[in-house]
């Protein structure tokens, strides 16, 4: 399988899904993994909020519109989740939803970054008198 080279973190998941382990053990182990991530995730979340707070306060008010457009484009990073949903070869409700989410997020990514660029290209300094 081509994926095998990326075993790493995903190995426990794969092993846990083997029928050898009892369902209870699987659940317990997965539960532990989930709550572990919650603390990590929360750490990341809180720190990112602080970074966001300080970075955004430094944005000049003249560029608040581009800020909205670019944050909009960036929040479409949710496409990462959509790609996973749209991936399976077997098409069902979940892959269709994934596909739709990929379309929507792509509209945003392309639209958001391009419109930001268009805006930023218009901002010019006063020309020095020759």
């Amino acid at each position: 399988m081509p994926g095998d080279i990326f075993y790493g973190n995903y190995m426990p998941e794969k092993i846990l899904n083997q029928p050898v382990l009892t369902e209870a053990a699987t659940q317990a182990a997965q539960h532990a993994a989930t709550s572990d991530f919650f603390i990590t995730g929360l750490t990341v979340f809180v720190l990112a909020c602080f970074v966001g707070y300080y970075v955004v306060w430094r944005v000049t008010p003249a560029l608040h519109s581009p800020l909205m457009a670019v944050t909009n484009a960036v929040s479409s990073v949710i496409i990462v989740g959509a790609l996973i949903a749209a991936g399976p070869a077997l098409i069902n409700t979940s892959t269709i939803l994934g596909f739709l989410a990929v379309v929507l997020a792509s509209i945003n990514i392309f639209g958001g970054f391009i419109v930001t660029r268009r805006m930023l290209q218009m901002y010019k300094k006063k020309e020095k008198k020759a």
Partner: protein, 470 residues
């Protein structure tokens, strides 16, 4: 290898931070945007590398089709959109992020194995809560942004829509969302997911419908923030740090912008969210306004004469300038004045326009150099030393009642002190009061001259009179 992929996610997170960091000055903003694009491309490529690892039988058809279709639509819209329609565009884009979050959350519920959060029918409780929150916020963002789009585009009345029992109803919906998420944890049933989606969609509509058109800067910033929190919720569900980082950045950005906008109107965020502003006030002052006060009105020639003989002019643009698309004519007028040796600067109120920074973009579009454009606190003291304040499409943000009349609904709002200039020129279509429904006493002052007409036509006429018509 997985470590490498996680590292790639970290790099793209940093790129997003750099993209926002770049916006601290127009000079660094463009390279910041490049960082953003690179970060996004890296995130997508990384995920594509990761996919074969998570999905046993993979097909790239839907993914490629989705990116191509979405990319084409996005590119087309972004190149075609007019800068005056920017607020609508941003609102529409927010709605897409919201809907994408809803789809991803439901997809994760239907096939949790792919996301490593359990098996169908037996998803971990914590993941369900995160998923539920992401779904609810996404749905609220979706319908809320659609309503905001409708109001900005003029498809729905910009007036606040209020009805009895509005707030209790919203509170009830909010409580049901919490209740449904709890139910979802207890009993995993697809019907609860559907109910949660429907209730959240409804709440999104009801939250935005009572908010009036000129409060849209706050609404758009708020929805911007929501779309970030929705991404965060999905990030926790998918256990993806990049989504959490990005969601938090966007959430913080939207929240700060909402705060700045609220401060610009001296209103609390709750006051804005609860809505209805301008509805009652408008009725009251329409009845009690003193009509038939003498107003000095002038022609384009008069204005041209005053402007030409001034030594310093401050332009105060507002939403009316955007509506009339007057920015290009205005810039032409200012170029002529500069040729005559007049110093011309622009003063921008934080809440001018329909989104944060709206006026700055429009002026930039009309080739006004950004170092001639100043924020309220930078320029407000200079009005006293200026010969002319030229108000174009703004009204409430210049109303001295905000400082003098404690009974006024806009009392306490920071205003541009245009009345301190020697002469105030006011371009307006009619004597109608502004959005807040308050009469502007400035119209009746001795040093004010009203220029009645369309902002764009008036600027063009002034250009002709100054001598640009030849």
């Amino acid at each position: 290898m997985t470590a490498l992929l996680s590292f790639a996610y970290l790099v793209s997170g940093i790129c997003f931070i750099m993209a926002l960091r770049g916006l601290s000055s127009p000079e660094t903003a463009k390279s910041g945007n490049m960082y953003g694009m690179f970060g996004m491309a890296l995130a997508i490529v990384t995920t594509l590398f990761l996919l074969p690892n998570i999905i046993p039988q993979i097909s790239y058809n839907l993914i490629i089709a989705g990116v191509v279709i979405g990319g084409a639509i996005g590119t087309f819209i972004a190149y075609r959109i007019q800068m005056t329609a920017l607020p609508q565009l941003v609102a529409a884009f927010h709605s897409l992020v919201g809907l994408a979050a809803v789809f991803v959350a439901i997809a994760a519920y239907l096939s949790p194995e792919a996301y490593g959060i359990g098996v169908a029918g037996n998803i971990h409780g914590g993941s369900l809560v995160e998923m539920g929150l992401g779904l609810a916020i996404g749905a609220i963002t979706f319908t809320g942004s659609i309503i905001a789009f409708g109001k900005l585009q003029g498809l729905i009345s910009g007036k606040p829509v209020t009805f009895p029992m509005q707030h209790p109803l919203n509170a009830l919906l909010g409580i049901s969302i919490v209740g449904l998420i709890v139910m979802l944890v207890v009993q995993q049933d697809v019907s609860i997911v559907m109910a949660l989606t429907v209730v959240s969609l409804l709440l999104g509509i009801l939250l935005i419908i009572p908010i009036g058109g000129a409060d849209m800067p706050v609404v758009i910033s708020m929805l911007n923030s929501y779309s970030g929190w929705a991404a965060c919720g999905i990030g926790f569900t998918l256990q993806n740090p990049l989504l959490i980082i990005t969601g938090a950045l966007v959430g913080a950005s939207g929240a700060i912008l909402s705060y700045i906008m609220c401060k610009g109107m001296n209103r609390s965020i709750f006051n804005v969210i609860l809505g209805g502003f301008g509805a009652e006030a408008g009725g009251a002052s329409a009845g009690g306004s003193a009509v038939d006060r003498p107003v000095k009105s002038g022609s384009a020639e008069d204005a041209a004469f005053i402007l030409k003989n001034a030594s310093s002019v401050i332009i105060v643009p507002g939403y009316g300038m955007a509506v009339a698309q007057a920015q290009h004519a205005l810039r032409e007028m200012c170029d002529l004045l500069k040729k005559e040796g007049v110093s011309v600067r622009y003063a921008i109120h934080p809440v001018a326009g329909r989104m944060p920074g709206h006026m700055n973009v429009l002026l930039a579009e009309a080739n006004v150099p950004y170092d001639e454009v100043f924020e309220l606190d930078e320029i407000n003291r200079d009005f006293g030393m200026s010969d002319v304040a030229f108000v174009i499409g703004a009204n409430d943000v210049t109303n001295p009642a905000a400082k003098t009349d404690p009974k006024s609904p806009i009392f306490g709002m920071p205003i541009l002190d245009v009345e301190k200039a020697k002469t105030v020129l006011f371009i307006k279509r009619s004597m109608a009061s502004g959005y807040a429904g308050v009469e502007n006493e400035l119209f009746y002052r001795a040093n004010t001259m009203m220029l009645f007409g369309d902002a764009k036509k008036m600027c063009e006429l002034i250009v002709k009179s100054i001598g640009g018509g030849h």
